[in-house]
Amino acid sequence: MAYDAVSVEGIKYLLPELVLVSGILTLFIITNLGDAKIRLPLTRLRIPALLGGNRFKWNSDPRLPGVISVFTFILAIAMLIQTLGGDTCNDLVEKFCAETTILTTTGNNPVDLLKLDSFSRLFELMFFLALLLVSAASINRLQADSNPSNDDLDQLLDNRRQVDFHLLLLISGLGMTIVAMSMNLFVLFVGLELASLPIYVMVAFHKESKAGTEAGVKYFITGAISSAIGLYGMSLLYLWSGSLQLSVLEATWAAMATPETLPLFGISLLLVGFGFKISAVPFHFVAPDAYSGASSPVAALLATASKTLGFIGLMRILMIITLPETGDAAVWMLAFGILSVVTMTWGNLAALGSENPKRMLAYSSVAHAGYMMAALVAVAAWKNGSFVENNSGGVMAVELIIGAIIFHLFVLISFKIGAFMVISHLETEDEVTDMSSLHGLAKREPIIATSMFVFMLALAGVPPLAGFMSKFLMVTGIVQVASADVLTNTEIDLIPTFLGMHWTFFLAISIFINSAISLYYYLRIGVLMFFEESTTRLPLPKVSILRFVILLCALATIFLGINSDWLVESAIEAASTLFTNS
């Protein structure tokens, strides 16, 4: 169904976003309520204006903005769930799915703006969950002093700064959901910038620390340049097709007999913009600086939600616009194949020697981007005309791969955010600049250390944790795609089979090798926590909500690994909507 975006029928599909907007307004108003009075002109009568003046005690509590933003996100998730279901998918117990609805511009020639389907709804859920965790963890985390100790209220940043932070989070969330829903490159770009700009600010939020400010500025400059390049690519595409609507672009691309210069340029430059978001090599350089300069919750956001933004963009462009139905290989296949291998290897090698846990996690996040890019390449290999089109198995493999990427992005929320939260917890004691902060953590905080170890194992992809499932699904998909040709045509004979594989098969091998390398630095964290001696045996300062978030993430990591059916089904459903309704 298609509705006018600003009509009553249309707007009710945007309830989660409306909740975010009202959350933003609430945050503005509530925290600014005060005892200011206005004197009526010419009289002595003073009436309370409510806004401004000295604030009341209850709304100057520094934790209030955090609480408001947490409740906003919870409400948004509730609204999101309320929009789910419908005629074609009524069993949410089986999987997450939503009816497809398109929102258009007003007028006689409506242009598609936003699409609400299982794909975008699932991503909305991911964003809300990530932001919820981050804002919950930030309630007690934004200390004025960089070396604070406990739940003591006086140690927190004042209410104003808190408002700023959570406001930025909410605005960023709004941008993210727009990206998830966009059907138009222009809307997508607006959403992307709406999401990115607050993040730049949040990276530099600790203006008291030099590293944070520097990281923020660097991140902003590089990000701006990448965005500009992407925007330039977009304008080339517009020049070529006369529209930025995805469906129009797709049709024009498909109608193109021989590759033309303009769209190829446009697409390549667009990929630069998204390449920066997912921190693919060589656009990743600023990522470690940004991660280590930002406070840990913000770094967690960079590693999950911000990366997810980039992948949504890539999936939209690569899977919808430029993926040929049959015939030649996708134009970006080789380029992306090379980039993916370089990215995962670079990330892992660089992480190997990192002595700063946050930089290590940043590089690990680069490596993970490489894995997911490899999976994207395999999708192109399937559609590649040189393969025998195999009845229903074909769609399945592609959906499996995209589903695996979505699944991975989802579960990253549990263990990547979890890992950053542990570091955030360590930062309540002292700044974390090298691995020595982790020494002997197991003796000081057994539960936190065990959780951290679970996160590391999940990042490395050790069964039965969530990280294993996603990697397993991706590799299964890649191998299925790469070997379909050989297996359908020849008898099983190892060596010819191996040689006859499509080259994407070596992406799977590359993932294997890289997983092996990555185990080294993930397990090293375990060694440091369990076997090294720390200088102190005292437990960490008590920050209850942070502990709660860490524990929640650890449980989710284990649970999603063991009982992943629902989420895998949902991710595959989302993947299939990406393909079918485009």
């Binding site: 590089t222 990448s226 340029f265 630069v272 390449g275 090698l349 992480a351 008898e491 390398i517």
Partner: protein, 732 residues
């Protein structure tokens, strides 16, 4: 969680009850060791584990009650899901594969489930008496009970699993626990090395089993029972040679686990573990795992027989029967000369398991020839023997434990704590205990009679069935190669009669051979109850025979019909059609004569004898003692020349198998191992170290590119853009 929460779900919880209880015991034990209440009320964890096993027993009884009457095969698939994925097969189709725990209940698993949980419960009960009263175990019994529970969960899980993969996983859990339990007294070098030996020997079999399972996967594309058992061989023909290889490899796994020739060497040494462990591993559970695996192959044989495939699997059946026959004979021979009461039982276990293997081999042979009625009877007889043997041998081990325990106490009492130079397990130190240990001696007599196959008692029914069916296959149905195991089984029946009687008479009849034996009393609490229960179970084998055990797997005849059939079979050797066959009549009476008369009488004349004057055994066994005295007085003969012959020496040296394996390990395996270690150190480690230092230096190098200056980053972005454009252009 897929599927309804049904009876199958509750069945699936059975293995998880002990699995979830063991950490409780372990942690409580770690914290509260030495506390009074922990020691006296919770019995250092024994009470907790007993409760856990009690829950298991109740659940099992409910399951048995649910399924016993009906021919329904319960199955709960995918009770715990983990991964579901598709496998692209060579024909381009996909196979859905699910790696999850599900349960599969049929008569085979039901019986083993009952045997395992019932005996585990009783052995746990017994352990409280046996382990907790011995000073040497103080403050570490919680370890015993925790390992005991994991072991039980391994066994129960293995029996219930609905595919070969989970069967293998639980199989390995058991392997681990048997290692831990045999090496419970790890400070004793002999126990430590026995544990190692058991682990490594079974490992040899496990490797083959794993290869076999991989081949099975290759053939069927799945390891789930319902896929393999329900395979349509007409539409999907399989490679018979490959299948045969897989089955033989799996059988080698079973050989290792069930201690059959030539992987039997670990079992006698495993007696170093505490006696409850011997009972647990050698009677109730682990050794039956191999039998269970072989019994599980049955539908594959009937399936392939009922198809138009070229060739059949008869060879596999013959190999299994052959190994069984050889082991039965060899182990019985070695048991002749053992003086350690537990070692006699260990070899007896090997021999009896070999009977079951032979019966299973015959069953599989019949099945592969398409003779399903006979196959089912042979299978039923084998499984019934498994039941009888498990009950009897579990009891015998516990009874021997009681003897050893009381001997130990008596010695302790006399010598005031000096333990040097006295072996409480040596039967040459015993004698005349019938009057001192009334319940133990009765139990042991009943157990021995069941193992020997004294008519109308327990094992008699099943053993007759096995021997008759193997002979039937050999004589009438063209399995000429089966003559070898058939003859060996018949001879072993007589040998069983001898060595089991010898054990009993050496221990309980005659005059006490040492001072210690005169001071033995049956006084330890907790020990008697399981013995009494199991005595009734053993003697009442016929009752269970009538309860469909034999024909469980078949179409289910009326209750009395089976009973009468058993009787007819034993004494009239009548065919199902009612034709009396003189060959079988001779065979039956030959078996009875050998096992119940000749064997015991020779044993009596050598080792029997009346008790010391004035001593009196309880009526249940006094007649035995009296007969033995009479026989000895009349037919005493000297076996000195025989006992000192080369054969006896060879038997004492266990037919040199251990020496052979030791030599083989020392001369061949160890040099290979040293070479491998060298290669590992220089070759592999060198490469790995090289890779490691290489990656570290690469890491340092590439991290240098991250200069920290935004200018460089922008340049990189620009270069990257050029690269992307170039690559995409290049592709076109």
């Amino acid at each position: 969680m897929a599927g309804d929460v049904s009876v199958e779900f509750w069945v699936a919880t059975i293995p998880f009850v002990p699995l979830l209880t063991f950490p409780i015991i372990l942690f409580l034990g770690q914290y509260f060791n030495g506390k009074d209440w922990w020691k006296n009320i919770l019995k250092e964890g024994g009470a907790i584990s007993l409760m856990s096993m009690g829950v298991v027993l109740i659940l099992t009884s409910m399951v048995v009650a649910q399924f016993i009457g009906e021919m329904h095969h319960g199955q709960g698939k995918d009770i715990l899901d983990w991964i579901t994925f598709d496998v692209l097969r060579s024909d381009g189709m996909t196979n859905g594969v699910n790696l999850g725990f599900g349960i599969y209940i049929d008569h085979v698993s039901l019986m083993l489930l009952f045997v395992a949980s019932f005996l585990c419960f009783l052995i746990n009960w017994f352990s409280i008496g046996y382990m907790n009263t011995d000073k040497i175990n103080d403050n570490r019994n919680h370890r015993f009970y925790a390992e005991f529970l994991i072991f039980c969960s391994g066994m129960l899980g293995m029996v219930l699993a609905d595919n070969f993969l989970w069967l293998f996983i639980f199989w390995e859990i058991m392997g681990l626990c048997s290692y831990l339990l045999i090496g419970f007294y790890y400070e004793k070098p002999s126990a430590a090395s026995a544990a190692k030996k058991a682990f490594l020997t079974t490992r040899v079999g496990d490797v083959f089993l794993m290869i076999g399972l991989i081949i099975m996967w290759n053939i069927y594309g799945s390891l789930e029972f319902d896929v393999i058992f329900g395979w349509n061989y007409f539409t999907n023909p399989v490679d018979m040679t490959l299948l045969k290889t897989a089955l033989i490899l799996m059988f080698i796994g079973a050989v290792g686990k069930s201690a059959q020739f030539p992987l039997h060497v670990w079992l006698p040494d495993a007696m170093e573990g505490p006696t409850p462990v011997s009972a647990l591993i050698h009677a109730a559970t682990m050794v039956n795992a191999g039998l269970y695996l072989v019994a599980r192959m049955f539908p594959i044989f009937t399936g392939t027989a009922d198809s138009n495939l070229i060739g059949d699997l008869a060879d596999v059946g013959i190999i299994i029967a052959m190994i069984g026959g050889i082991t039965a004979f060899m182990a019985a021979g070695i048991a002749f000369v053992q003086n350690d009461i537990k070692k006699v039982l260990a070899y007896s276990t090997m021999s009896q398991l070999a009977y079951i293997f032979t019966g299973l081999g015959a069953a599989l042979w019949f099945a592969s020839k398409g003779k399903s009625e006979l196959a089912l009877f042979a299978l039923g007889a084998s499984l019934f023997h498994l039941f009888n043997h498990a009950m009897a041998k579990g009891m015998l081990f516990m009874a021997s434990g009681s003897v050893i325990h009381e001997m130990h106490h008596a010695h302790h009492h006399i010598s005031h704590g000096e333990h040097e130079g006295f072996d409480a397990q040596d039967m040459t130190n015993m004698g005349g205990l019938a009057s001192k240990l009334p319940i133990t001696s009765t139990a042991m007599a009943a157990g021995s009679m069941s193992i020997i196959g004294i008519p109308l008692i327990g094992g008699f029914w099943s053993k007759e069935g096995i021997i008759a069916k193997v002979w039937k296959a050999a004589i009438y149905d063209g399995g000429y190669l089966l003559f070898i195991p058939a003859i060996l089984l018949l001879i072993s029946a007589g040998m069983t009669g001898f060595y089991m009687s010898r054990m009993w008479f050496m221990t309980f009849a005659g005059k006490p051979k040492t001072k210690v034996a005169e001071h033995v009393h049956e006084e330890t609490p907790w020990i008697k109850f399981p013995l009494v229960i199991l005595t009734f179970m053993t003697l009442g084998g016929i009752v269970f025979a009538s309860l469909h055990f034999v024909n469980w797997v078949s179409t289910g005849h009326a209750l009395h019909y089976d009973l009468v059939y058993e009787m007819k079979h034993a004494f009239l050797a009548m065919d199902k059609e009612g034709v009396i066959d003189s060959t079988f009549l001779i065979l039956t009476w030959a078996t009875i004569g050998l096992s119940s008369l000749i064997g015991p009488i020779i044993a009596m004349s050598l080792y029997g004898g009346n008790l010391k004057d004035g001593e009196k055994a309880i009526p249940t066994v006094s007649w035995l003692v009296k007969i033995s005295g009479m026989v000895r007085n009349r037919w005493q003969f000297n076996n000195k020349s025989l006992a000192e012959s080369g054969l006896a020496e060879a038997l004492r040296r266990r037919l040199y198998f251990d020496d052979l394996y030791d030599w083989f390990c020392l001369k061949i395996i160890v040099p290979i191992g040293l070479g491998a270690a060298l290669f590992d150190k220089k070759g592999i480690d060198g490469v790995i170290k090289g890779i490691e230092s290489g990656s570290q230096s690469t890491s340092t190098w590439i991290r240098k590119l991250t200069t920290g200056s935004a200018r460089d980053y922008i340049m990189m972005v620009a270069l990257g853009s050029l690269l992307l454009v170039g690559l995409i252009w290049g592709m076109v």
